[in-house]
Symmetry: C2
Subunit: 142 residues, 2 copies
Amino acid sequence: MKSTIKHDCRDELHNAKLRVTPARLGVLAMLEHADMPVDVSMITDYLKKQKIPVNEVTVFRILNTFTDKGITKPIQLNEGKLRYEYANKAKHHHFICEKCKTITDVEGCTVEALERQIEKTSGGKVTRHSLEFFGLCRRCVS
Amino acid sequence: MKSTIKHDCRDELHNAKLRVTPARLGVLAMLEHADMPVDVSMITDYLKKQKIPVNEVTVFRILNTFTDKGITKPIQLNEGKLRYEYANKAKHHHFICEKCKTITDVEGCTVEALERQIEKTSGGKVTRHSLEFFGLCRRCVS
DNA sequence: TTGACAAATGCAAGTAACTTGCATATACTT
DNA sequence: AAGTATATGCAAGTTACTTGCATTTGTCAA
């Protein structure tokens, strides 16, 4: 009996016309398991613990492929490296604690009005924005 | 008779307790001259044209020093490298054309309300945010 | 079930942005 | 004008990421 989660992951790969490999299933499992955007070394470490040793190069390639297929989304948090999360998550932004580096999702975005205003002012078209908040989380603020 | 601009730059360096060198004056001139955030290679190229040949390493160091002293501010536009602009510019965000890469300033920010909301929800403290808009500028949109 | 072939992976090497160590050169102080 | 701290250049190192190429492995058709 296959686990439900694994089956979902297989479907996800089939839908994207990608072959089902241990490395890809492992990356998908990691993304489900994680509660914040993850970077390549976090994924590699996780896979090693799961006894699915995968070369870092392969993880980079898997994430690029997933992103091309719209499965994952790169997140740039000004760390000098990219993180990734599922692309189909509800639209949200991130709040990064500058002390403990915890990343929490921020729901609700009030930026659309500003986008319309930019379009009026500039005569162009705004297709997306990136917005991140930095500060101290509850545990670090005191 | 020294030019006014150059004299301003000298003052800026003196105020920051930094020595006045051709390389630093050149970087400051470039920042004044540019109408969008600039990266290290743009600065290096500009200095070469001005017959102030400066090693890239030195430009990196100058920008780090300026940023430490609060003269410049690093701008991350998800390009895999940093740009810099004067830190004392009025608070603003950027609108990047994904086709021609032109960067224009966006005045007016409606994000403060969202920051207060995050603080209430999370119990933490938001100290800054980064917000960039991507799309097509007027000339590229048609 | 098998065998062929495209696709995925590993390894080594390459790249780009940025940093660091150290020797030399230069700006500022007196 | 000289002494000294600071700035710079050069070479090498680092980190995140990419690429080329040989090998392995999924998948699909027979």
